[in-house]
Symmetry: C2
Subunit: 421 residues, 2 copies
């Protein structure tokens, strides 16, 4: 089909992103805009005004998700919608584009679609999800609330003493946490969900592609690895009488890293935290606790690596591997991936198919049977969740263009699309 009438405006998108970055801006260029903080509430008000300007009907649901809707000029208004979305909150001292790109590009895509004069065969929605970053308790709060997927009691829990629960933050903005269930919608209201996001890694930059077509979001397994030794005076205990928990931990770190590399290119493993007890210059380490996180889209690879690491840890005296979390991965809809690819081909845009190593609101939709697609654009030096988070404006515009194009193609492909489901 001919979608050449859709013309995303880079300048307009850029201005929105820069305007949005003023909410919670820090002196070093970082962003302090955690979910439902004052800066976030201001940003949300500003963005709702932009959504209304673009012709969307806007409301907030019981979970504080912002929902903007454009009904089709022709066709039934209660037909399943095609939704684009992301989030407006940021991690503490985060960057300007994580989440923000998705909602601003979604807005620009809808504006460009309207301006194209092309018929809009389905309702379109722009979704701004609450607390994707998990300020209150766990991440992807808003999208989970939208499908009744919250954990029991979750809204009353917080990340620690003195930190707010979601119930507290909702009350603070005038909402009744007791009515959180009213945010729930039926999956049948959605024909598809699309999200544009920065890659948050270095792959697209390294292959020189401005567009990543996401094939799925990784399976995440988290563990603690603990080693126990015998603490003692660092001056008075000869080497041959020591049982040093940190030396044992170091052997595990090296062996685990080697094992992850050997496991192949589709899997990553990271020991990101390490705590030594008692932790003093002149005391032999008595115990060490390390975190381990394994991510891959291939469950079999995760299982096999888990077994190898289990063996490594077992081979060390008084060491233990303790699983603490396993979050299954999701796969994106093949027809949507093909549609994004077709759009890239027709526009002459180089793309790269890849997995997402990070979690997103887009994770929530596939298990519900809602066809889902994600588009990545590169971030400079692969940096994200930090003040250095950067993009190239032309990539943002290309991303928004492919997003708009894909929305219209999906809307027009309805028959075809339903066949392949």
């Amino acid at each position: 089909m001919d979608t050449s009438a859709i013309k995303v405006k880079e300048d307009r998108l850029r201005k929105d992103l820069l305007d949005l970055a003023r909410f919670g801006e820090e002196p070093d260029g970082g962003i302090m805009r955690t979910a439902l903080s004052d800066a976030d509430l201001e940003a949300r008000r500003w963005f709702q005004a932009r959504m209304r300007e673009a012709g969307l009907r806007v409301h907030e649901d019981a979970a504080a998700n912002i929902i903007g809707r454009l009904d089709p000029a022709a066709g039934p208004t209660d037909a399943p919608c095609i939704a684009v979305g992301s989030h407006i909150d940021a991690v503490p001292h985060g960057g300007r584009f994580d989440g923000a790109l998705g909602i601003c590009a979604g807005l620009e895509a809808i504006r460009a679609i309207r301006e194209s004069g092309l018929p809009i065969p389905s309702p379109l929605e722009l979704l701004v999800f609450t607390d994707e970053e998990g300020r209150h308790f766990a991440g992807t709060f808003g999208s989970r609330a939208m499908f009744n997927l919250l954990i029991e009691g979750e809204i009353h829990r917080s990340k620690g003493t003195g930190k707010p629960s979601m119930a507290h933050s909702l009350e603070r903005m005038g909402k009744d946490p007791g009515r959180i269930g009213e945010a729930a919608r039926s999956p049948s209201e959605f024909r598809a969900y699309l999200e544009l996001h920065i890659e948050q890694g270095p792959v697209l930059e390294s292959v020189g592609a401005p567009i990543g077509i996401v094939e799925g979001i990784v399976d995440i397994s988290r563990y603690f690895i603990r080693t126990k030794g015998e603490s003692g005076h660092a001056g008075t205990t000869p080497m041959h009488m020591r049982d040093d928990a940190l030396v044992k931990a170091a052997r595990i770190i090296t062996a685990v890293n080697d094992a992850v590399i050997l496991a192949g290119p589709d899997i990553v493993g990271t020991i990101g935290e390490l705590k030594v007890e008692p932790g003093a210059f002149n005391i032999i380490p008595g115990s060490v606790q390390m975190s381990l996180e394994i991510r891959s889209m291939k469950k079999a690879a995760v299982q096999s690596l888990h077994e190898t690491i289990q063996e490594i840890v077992r081979s060390v005296d008084n060491a233990r591997l303790e699983p603490i979390l396993s979050k299954g991965g999701v796969v994106m809809d093949p027809t949507i991936m093909d549609t994004i690819e077709l759009s890239c081909h027709e526009q002459g845009i180089h793309f790269h198919r890849m997995g997402s190593g990070a979690g997103h609101d887009a994770m929530t939709f596939p298990p519900l049977g809602i066809p889902t697609g994600m588009i990545f654009i590169p971030c400079v030096n692969g940096k994200s969740h930090c003040p250095d988070e950067e993009i190239r404006w032309e990539d943002a515009a290309v991303g928004a263009q492919i997003l708009a194009d894909t929305v219209i193609r999906i809307a027009s492909q309805q028959m075809q699309f339903n066949k392949t489901r």
Copy 2:
């Protein structure tokens, strides 16, 4: 010479040690008696009463050192004294014997000498040094103050916000910190210094000797080792694109530990602290800071190990070895060591010559030309500076006996002794 008339009483020593342990006793058997705290001040008053009971003239100097003196019945009272000593303060949550053993055994040794009826040819002193453990700023405060070896301004510094300076603690007990200089004495007032202490390590227990003859106190070198990598998202950065500071640190830990072991039995090296930045489950470590401490009595061994570790660190990209402290070791007087050995032989006590891996007030004396000796007794399982610190009472009595015997032998050997100096 025949010293068989000197009979140390185990029961009396044991009672003193148990009585002293009540000052600052914690429910778990640990001791909370940091220097010049209320518990320490009470313990000091109690101990001064015991010293007076034993016939000593007692006074406190300007640095709060407690000095008990016994003048000879015959001979000049202004002759150089033979001093025995240690400290009464403890590390936070410390044990019952570190320091306490030395002063109680010193007291018991002097009591036994008096009771023996043997002539006492020199003045004897029992010294209780202030803040050996370094509660206020740096350790061995009292012995350094006694010889004008304080660092400029030291008494006005503290270990951190809200922690007392030595000047503050001296004022609190009614002393004028401005007069600290009055604590200074001339090295010529001392013929010898002897200190009995628990070993604080596992060596004596492992060789089955109740007495350790200390040959010297180790040289201590402290460093930071830093590795720098590139932090990044643990899900989105493929293994081959990573520069993980913790993996680099782990290689250094293993290599340094191997190098220390290869350097031989007379040297120890410990990485006791390790901090990962940013330190989160899902972030690749961007930098690591580790502490390294090397202790040995052999300067050449330390220098050679330093060079090996320098090479190890240099072989790792973006790693750095940063020296932060080097405290030269001291050697004990050979004649005093021989005298202690002779005493052990005559009493049929098994002994072991060894270095001290920990620092003590006895470190202060050798650089001043004062002949110094240290006697160790075992501590159970090598544990010290913790509530589990334990000794066998019979070892304490043997230690006090060897101490008393050595004092009298040194006093009687004056001519011989001066020859070998």
